[in-house]
Symmetry: C2
Subunit: 172 residues, 2 copies
C-alpha cells in the first residue's frame, strides 16, 4: 500500500524551499532519513546548508549553478540539470531515505531540460513509503496532478519590492 506522500510547493511567493526545509526539520525530529537535492540554487553560505552539515540523518546535494539560464547558452545548465536528476533517481531508488526533497525541480521541465513525464514516472516508481517534496515556480499540470498536496505560495507583499537588502538567516 502506498503511504508516501507527494507534496508540491509552487507559486511566485516566498516560502517554497523554506516550507520544504520545515518538513526536513519535522522529519528529523521523528528520526526519518532525509535527502535534499537542490537543482537550481547556486553554491553559497546558505544557513540551511551550514546547519545540515552537522546532521547525520540528512544528505544534502547542490546541483544548480544559480539562476543563469539563457536561451542561447544553456547547454551547461541542461547537463547539470540532467546530472542532478540522475542523482535524484539514484537516491530515490536506493531506498535509504524516508523523505526526498527535489528543490526547484519544476524549472527542469519549464526550461525544457527534462520531459515532465520523466519526473512523473520516477514518482510512480519510487519506494511506496517514500515521502517526496517538490518545489519551484510554474509547476507543470502533470506535477499538480500527481501530487497529493499542492500549495501555491502567493506573494502578497515582498520586502525586496521595498528595496530592502537580503538578510542573513532569512533569505539565505
Amino acid at each position: 500500500m502506498l503511504n508516501g506522500r507527494v507534496i508540491l510547493y509552487t507559486g511566485n511567493g516566498k516560502g517554497k524551499t523554506t516550507a520544504a526545509l520545515g518538513l526536513v526539520f519535522r522529519a528529523l525530529g521523528h528520526g526519518l532519513r532525509v535527502c535534499v537535492i537542490q537543482f537550481i540554487k547556486g553554491k553559497g553560505e546558505y544557513g540551511e546548508r551550514l546547519f545540515a552539515g552537522g546532521l547525520d540523518s540528512l544528505e544534502w546535494h547542490v546541483c544548480g549553478q544559480g539562476f543563469v539560464f539563457k536561451k542561447e547558452e544553456n547547454e551547461a545548465d541542461r547537463r547539470v540539470a540532467r546530472e542532478g536528476f540522475r542523482l535524484a533517481r539514484e537516491k530515490i531508488e536506493s531506498d535509504l531515505f524516508d523523505l526526498v526533497i527535489l528543490d526547484e525541480i519544476t524549472y527542469l521541465p519549464h526550461y525544457g531540460f527534462l520531459d515532465v513525464d520523466e519526473i512523473v514516472d520516477l514518482l510512480h516508481q519510487r519506494p511506496p513509503r517514500l515521502h517526496m517534496i517538490l518545489t519551484g515556480r510554474n509547476a507543470h499540470r502533470s506535477l499538480i496532478d500527481v501530487a497529493d498536496t499542492v500549495t501555491e505560495m502567493d506573494a502578497v507583499k515582498h520586502a525586496y519590492e521595498k528595496g530592502v537588502k537580503a538578510q542573513k538567516g532569512i533569505e539565505f
Copy 2:
C-alpha cells in the same frame, strides 16, 4: 536603523508553520538565536519539537491547547492566549533573540482574544534588529500592513481531502 524583518505566512493552504520552521533551520545555520511560541497547536509529539529539544540556540514554547475554540466556552482559551502573548512580549523585550516566531498568532485577534493593535504595537516596539515571523489563517489587515513580506498559502489540493491519514514527519 531597522534591519529586522517581519514575515507573515497566511492563507488556507499547508506550509505556514512549516515555512516558519524552515526559517528556523536556516537561521540556526547562521548561529542566530531563535524563540518559537506556538499559540494554538496542542501538546503532542510533533517532530519539530522533538528536534528542537536537542538544540541549544532554540527556545520553544507551546501555549495552545489544540483547536478547541467554541464561542460559548472560550474563557480558558482566552486566558491561555493572553498568557502566551505576555510570554511573547517578555521574550521579544529580553533582546536575547535574533528571530522570534509567533506561530498561529493570527487567531488571537480573529477570535477576539486580543486586539490586533496590541500585536502591531509590539512589532513596532521590538528591538530594531529582531526578525519576526507570524503565521496563521485569516490574518488581520493591520498585520498585512505592518509586515515586510506576506505570503498567502493557497490550498490547490490537499491529501486530507482524499481521505489520506496524517503522516508522521509530514503533518506532525
